[in-house]
Structure formats: structure tokens, C-alpha cells
């Protein structure tokens, strides 16, 4: 899923200067799963925002709405009824959802209520870990199902740097596993260590953001 984290409340209070009718809009998909922008978070943030603004002597009418998926036009359309009654939208969706809302309602100020941070999985309740970097050149078949692009701090292609701690964690964060340590252990368990001996050539980064903004066209699906 795409994970996101709340922006600090003071930042949102500051950003809403001059607005009087605000809509906080969530998304019931990824950001709900990572407890950043689902219905529960929208209904938590709205009163907090209202209180914080009130302390600053500002009265703002805060409404809420949570869409099934903020990244699909059909669902975004549901905001068309309430949009004329507000002058700003705070979206708790990922960057995709925020932009969909901004594109559909160009007359309104649309602000991000979260920072979108990674493509991740829930490891245990309350903990999410990055899993994919959307690099456009997947190597998971050669790295025993562990992504070195997203999960190695240096995105190394040919094995661990010298920074693996004694307990197999990464030197830059004691809570993060060295993914190359994991890859090696999995290769060993499978009896396939020799597969890691190949010198892997520089990656082709051009099929991701490094090749310019991504545009995918499927002729068979076009109208």
C-alpha cells in the first residue's frame, strides 16, 4: 500500500489562514490501512483542527468526507455537491488523491494534510516498512524476494556494504534489517548462494521517475 503520515497540526493551522469553510477529505483505501487518512483519521483531525484554530481566535467551519478511493475520478466526483460550499480542501489521501481532487476542483485551494512517504507493508500493528521503490526495473527474481532498491539505504545491487551490524541490522538504523544480510541468508537456505556471485550491471532507472514523469499507454484499453 501507499503509506502517508500526518503533517504537523501547526503547519495545517498556518496553511488555513484566511479560509472560513474547509473540507477535510479522506480516502478509505491505502491511507486508511496505514491509519493516516481514513474515515477515523478524518473524524479525529477535523475537531483537532477546529480547536487549534479556535485557540488562535479563528472560527472556521470544518466539514468532513471520506471517499472510497481518492485516486479514481468516479469517487472524486462525489465531492461535487459539497465543493461549492467550501473555500479550501485538506486532503488526507496520498499525493495521487490530493492531485485528483485539486484537478477536479481547480477553483478551490487544495492542501495536503499528510506527507506521502513510501510503498510499504504493515509489519505488525502500528509498524509499516517500505517494500517497493517503483524503480521500473524489478530484480526481485534475482534477490530472493527482497528488494534492495527500496530496502537497502544505498540501493546497492551487488551485496551488502560494510555497514551491516553484528545483529544483521543496518548501520544507519538499528531497527532496520540489512536487506542484503536477509538476501544472503535466504540464498544460503535455498542452496543458491552462487546466484549472488554474478556482477550485476548498472540499473536502468529510465523506466521510473528518472526517465521523466511516467506515462503508461495500453492501446488495447484505449477508447
Amino acid at each position: 500500500m501507499i503509506i502517508a503520515e500526518w503533517k504537523p497540526l501547526p503547519e495545517l493551522v498556518e496553511i488555513l489562514k484566511g479560509h472560513t469553510n474547509v473540507l477535510v477529505v479522506g480516502c478509505a483505501t491505502c491511507v486508511a490501512e496505514c491509519a493516516a487518512g481514513g474515515e477515523r483519521e478524518v473524524e479525529t483531525l477535523a475537531p483537532l483542527l477546529q480547536m487549534a484554530l479556535k485557540q488562535e481566535g479563528r472560527t472556521i467551519n470544518v466539514r468532513t468526507s471520506t471517499l472510497e478511493r481518492q485516486c479514481e475520478w468516479e469517487f472524486v466526483e462525489e465531492l461535487a455537491k459539497v465543493a461549492p460550499q467550501v473555500d479550501a480542501i485538506v486532503s488526507l489521501a496520498c499525493g495521487i488523491g490530493i492531485q485528483a481532487v485539486a484537478e477536479r476542483f481547480p477553483e478551490l485551494a487544495v492542501y495536503p494534510g499528510v506527507n506521502t512517504t513510501a510503498l510499504a507493508i504493515r509489519q505488525e500493528p502500528g509498524t509499516w516498512l517500505a517494500r517497493c521503490a517503483a524503480c521500473g526495473d524489478c530484480v526481485l527474481g534475482e534477490t530472493f524476494g527482497f528488494c534492495p532498491v527500496a530496502r537497502c539505504a544505498k540501493s546497492l545491487s551487488n551485496g551488502p556494504c560494510g555497514g551491516t551490524r553484528k545483529n544483521g541490522k543496518c548501520e544507519i538504523d538499528e531497527n532496520i534489517d540489512c536487506v542484503w544480510y536477509q538476501i544472503y541468508e535466504r540464498a544460503k537456505a535455498r542452496g543458491k548462494v552462487e546466484q549472488l556471485l554474478k556482477v550485476r550491471k548498472p540499473k536502468n532507472w529510465s523506466n521510473s521517475g528518472h526517465g521523466g514523469p511516467k506515462r503508461v499507454v495500453r492501446e488495447d484499453l484505449r477508447p
Partner: protein, 312 residues
């Protein structure tokens, strides 16, 4: 056939035990800071490593530092990391460095920008890293530019850039069994010489070198053991606990702690480590570091019986 004809290469080729030292560029623009170190160290080593923003702290560039050393009569080993430059910038800098007279290049991935001098300075933890290629791929790039006169893309350059290519090895970091295989990859990619992470446990290191020798690696590339001059028991404890791949035997820490003059004891330990390393079959030299106190090196090198350096 000589690959780049550097003093380090010739020394190794002549079968002499090689000695390199590390010279950290200053955190400022003053060339005198480099020249002062050059004066202190001239003639005591076969190559002078110039670090590339180590621990992700901004310093004078390794290319500029290396050129200053070269002008002062110390043959530099320019270090180059993959953290800050993509393959375009790396190759451009390699062309420029070669034009300026650099012939030794050590390839590293580079400390992550979160390192920030181990927290002693602010550093730039909010910076964007590059890591377009990794250290092994950088080695391949240098080999291609030297042996085939081509860039990573396959595009030709007007003339080859013969560099003597170096790589690093951290033999005692986990997963330990894989470290020798990673060394093999570096040599397969084109590394001519290897400088290791700091070694204090000669016994364990000797076992790792034997594993490398058993794979024929000590014949294909020259391994130089990394030795850091210890300054205090606290420094040894810190490195043992916090620097991955650095293993300091308990007995050594105790010996240091019991010493009346820890600095002097550190010199003595360094000399003993060098002498012990010389007896490891297949080991070709030593890479000596005295972090921010390079002036102590000549005395240590002399005491280790490694002066004068051989004429090659």
C-alpha cells in the same frame, strides 16, 4: 604489463610489501592544510589515500586534495564514492582527475548521508543521495574506461584512462561468509588492489585472508590490511561497539586501558599489528590511518621497519 604505472602498482609488482596512508582533506578551502600534511608524510608511503567526503561531511573534494598532494610529491590514491554523483558525473570526474594526473582510484559506495561525522557535526542528513551505481559497478566503469576506452554507455572516449583500480573489503562484517564472495565480485569487476576496513583482530583477519587465498583472490588482486592507529581505550571500545566490521579483541582494549601513556601504547600496538600482518600469507601491504593526526605516522612506519620505502 603495467596498468597505470603508479608507484603503488610498481611496488606491488616488484614484490615489495606496500604501504599506503590516509590523508583526510580539510573542512575548508585552504591548500596549506593539505600541503602541511604532505610535508609531514612525503616519502613515507607508496600511496596517499584522499578521502571523498568521508562520514558524509563536506570537505575539500578528493580530486582537488589529490592534485595538491601530487604537486607536493605524494602520489595520491583518489577515493571516489557513489553517494553524491550519478554515472555521468562520476565518469566526467574520472576524465578530469586523469587529466590532472591522478592514476590511482579507490572505489567505494560511500557513507550514508545520515552518518554526519557520527553525530559530531550537523552534516546534511536531509540531502538526497544518488547511488545510481554501486561500488562494484563503479569498478567496472573504471575498467571499461581503461581497458576498452569506453564509457558505461558503450560510447568511446578519445583515449583510455589508465587507472590502478582499488576497492575496499570489510572481511569481518556480517554475513561473514559472504564477505569473501563480495571481494571476489570486486576483483571480478576489475579491482587491482584492495584496502580493508580497520583490523585489530589479526587472527580472525588471517582466517579471512586464507579464505580469499583459497579462492585464488590473493593472486588476482593485492590486499592491503587497513590499520587505524588507536588513540585510547575509549576509541577502541567505541569502534568495537559502533563501527560495523571492526572487531577489537577484549584483551587489546584491556591492554590499552591499563597503559600509562595510551597514545604511546597505541603506536606500539600499531607497530605490532603491522608486524603480525606481514606474516599473513598472501597479504601484500598495509593501509595505515591516523585519523586527524597524520603527523604521528612517520615515526610508526619507521618503528615498523618499513622505511625507507623501496625505490621502484
Amino acid at each position: 604489463m603495467m596498468k597505470a604505472g603508479t608507484r603503488l602498482e610498481k611496488t606491488l609488482r616488484a614484490g615489495q610489501f606496500a604501504l599506503t596512508v590516509e590523508v583526510g582533506p580539510p573542512r575548508g578551502p585552504n591548500p596549506e592544510d593539505v600541503l602541511r600534511k604532505a610535508q609531514q608524510l612525503k616519502g613515507v608511503a607508496d600511496g596517499y589515500n584522499v578521502t571523498d567526503n568521508q562520514t558524509a561531511v563536506v570537505r575539500m573534494s578528493s580530486i582537488a586534495g589529490a592534485r595538491l598532494l601530487l604537486d607536493a610529491g605524494c602520489e595520491p590514491i583518489m577515493q571516489m564514492t557513489c553517494r553524491d554523483r550519478n554515472r555521468i558525473a562520476l565518469q566526467s570526474d574520472l576524465l578530469g582527475a586523469w587529466a590532472l594526473g591522478m592514476r590511482n582510484c579507490l572505489c567505494l559506495s560511500g557513507d550514508h548521508q545520515k552518518a554526519g561525522a557520527s553525530g559530531k557535526l550537523k552534516g546534511h542528513p536531509g540531502s538526497k543521495n544518488v547511488f545510481d551505481v554501486d561500488s562494484i559497478q563503479l569498478i567496472s566503469i573504471l575498467k571499461g574506461m581503461r581497458d576498452e576506452g569506453v564509457l558505461e554507455s558503450g560510447d568511446p572516449i578519445s583515449q583510455p584512462t589508465p587507472f590502478f583500480i582499488g576497492a575496499v573489503w570489510t572481511p569481518l562484517a556480517p554475513p561473514e561468509e559472504f564477505r569473501v564472495l563480495r571481494l571476489a565480485k570486486k576483483i571480478e569487476a576489475g579491482a587491482d588492489f584492495i584496502q580493508t576496513q580497520a583490523v585489530f583482530d589479526i587472527k580472525r583477519f588471517a582466517t579471512a585472508v586464507k579464505a580469499a587465498a583459497d579462492r585464488g583472490l590473493t593472486d588476482r588482486a593485492a590486499i592491503l590490511v587497513g590499520i587505524i592507529v588507536p588513540k585510547s581505550a575509549r576509541m577502541l571500545e567505541y569502534m568495537n561497539a559502533n563501527v560495523p566490521g571492526v572487531e577489537v579483541p577484549e584483551a587489546l582494549i584491556k591492554r590499552m586501558a591499563a597503559a600509562k601513556d595510551q597514545r604511546q601504547e597505541g603506536y606500539q600496538i600499531t607497530v605490532e599489528l603491522i608486524q603480525a600482518a606481514r606474516n599473513i600469507p598472501g597479504l601484500k601491504g598495509v593501509h595505515l590511518q591516523a585519523i586527524e593526526s597524520e603527523e604521528v605516522l612517520p615515526e610508526i612506519i619507521r618503528a615498523a621497519g618499513l622505511l625507507p620505502r623501496p625505490q621502484v
